[in-house]
Amino acid sequence: MNQVRYFWPFIKLGLSDVWRHKTRSLLTMLGMVFGVGSVIAMLAVGEGASQQALDSIKRLGSENIMVMSVKPTEDEGTSTGAQRGRLAVYGLLYEDEKRILETVPGVVITVPARMTRRNARLNERQLEMRVVETIPGWFEVVQRPILAGRVLTANDMQMRANVCVLTEHGVRRLLAAEEMIGQRIRIASGVFEVIGIVKNETGGTVRAPDSEADAYIPITTGTKLFGEANIRYSAGGMEGEKVELSQIIVKMSNTAAVEPGSKAIEAVLARFHKKKDFRIDVPLTLLREAERTKRTYNIVLGAIAGISLLVGGIGIMNIMLASVTERTKEIGIRRAIGARRSRIVVQFLINTCVLSIGGGLLGLLLGVGIPFLITAFTDMPTVVQPYSLALAFGISVGVGIVFGLYPAMRAAALDPIEALRHE
């Protein structure tokens, strides 16, 4: 309290000084404005990116490796009229799943899945759904809250039961409010009883293993009903493809096993697949990429911030040195009255801090504005942290003290007799 009482007149003096030289002060503050602005913006962008990365883990599971069937590229290139009607056979096999499980160390579970798009119908409503033929393990690997009913069980598998689990969004679009559990829906040629509803991830930039309108059925039922070939009839005849498994999700025992695991899987599969008809996605790698991006942003913005703060600080120091010369007589008067050197130092430090904090506050506005623009124009998520305010203040005070010290010492070192004589 005593200190505040002592400091306030000097803060007031600093403020009136800034006000008297408005243009000069504003120009002096600019460096601080950009420096603090970019620090705040950097944190906002960084925070946005890391939240996005966190979402990616949630969506994909950082311990998972996704192996997907891919139509080999040369097939696409030569898909001419003459070759129409041919049944394209490619992709992952049950054999592959078995090999991965047996040879790759650290594998906890493998989940095979076959995905096809089929028409689902309930009474008058129709919806094209993605039918995921899979095993109960799916729900272990892709963990989503169960909203109603239950998920697939080993029993469903054995019985080749005509049951399905739907995703929340699919349910809503098929049947808005009615109780869905126990209803029968028709999917392509089969009739399925709805046994459960799970929540699904929506939006986001990283592809999740689940989609909006999914129907999960036992893979055994799928094989019995639909077979393994997916044949589409079109005007020119028939076009089909046979894919045993669209996807194998491999869950590893821990994140450390993920990268060696993905290499081992690649090696195992490459031995048996002459054509490159599979792709391996590692969510962890995507995560690392997101982190790298974030780091790049931090380095770039951090450098801008550092340089701006340095330039800003030097600008402030320059002005304060001029101010010391300008106020030499005042310093002499204060010293003659009985101010110790340290009091002169404090006075000029406060004066410098008034400038740097003023710049810092303007910079804060800029720092909140930049992320807003970034989000508006690049749809990169940004999160302005509340502690940014304290940080802006801290940086400002720091710069004020660091760059104010030299002018303040110069002021205090003046000989009072000489200073009083100064005109």
Binding site: A336, I337, G338, R340
Partner: protein, 241 residues
Amino acid sequence: MIIQTTESLRPLSDEVVRLDGVTRHYTVGEEIVRALDGVSFSMRRGSYWAIMGPSGSGKSTMLNILGCLDRPSSGAYWLNGENVAEMDDNALSDHRLRNLGFVFQSFHLIPQLTVSENIEVPMLYLGLSQSDRKRKAEVLAERVGMSHRLRHLPSELSGGQRQRVAVARALANDPAVLLADEPTGNLDSTTSVQIMGLFQELYEQGKTVILVTHEPDIAAYAKACIVLKDGVILSVTEEGK
């Protein structure tokens, strides 16, 4: 005058200023300039002195030493019972703050501060609370007849008014000695008379006043006089003579 060596007797209790063999030498190039060359005198509490002399007589050096802005090269200077000659910069600053009030020829008010704020500066360094400072500044302004200008800036005042404010500021720490350096040097004769009247009042109220001047008619206001020449005392006219 008897020139005494280094450590002298402690001053008597009513001696507010006592110089014992004070010298001040500057080295300019290879030459040693003896600005003060063995000066001794004492001043009683509540006295009114003038220090006179032509320029180059050591008057300014004397003022700086008396004002604790400079230290003697040798000798002792007792101010209010303490030997200032051996103090460091901080102790000297504190001494100025507690025991001295300055009135300068060109007023030396801080231009950005109002009359009230200027008077408050010494009190600020003494650590008085804002309300105490305000109250005391009003009393002091009243005492020098400036209470109607408290919110004005020095630039809005006449020379005589500025000097009144400076006197009020010099009194803000209730100093043992009021040190005035050519206080009327920048004022016209009418205003000079008014300001000297103010010093007379302060003397009558019991303040110790030291005037440093080269004008004999200003020095005449004082009750005693020391004349300096070439760094030594030429003559001392004691009180009542």
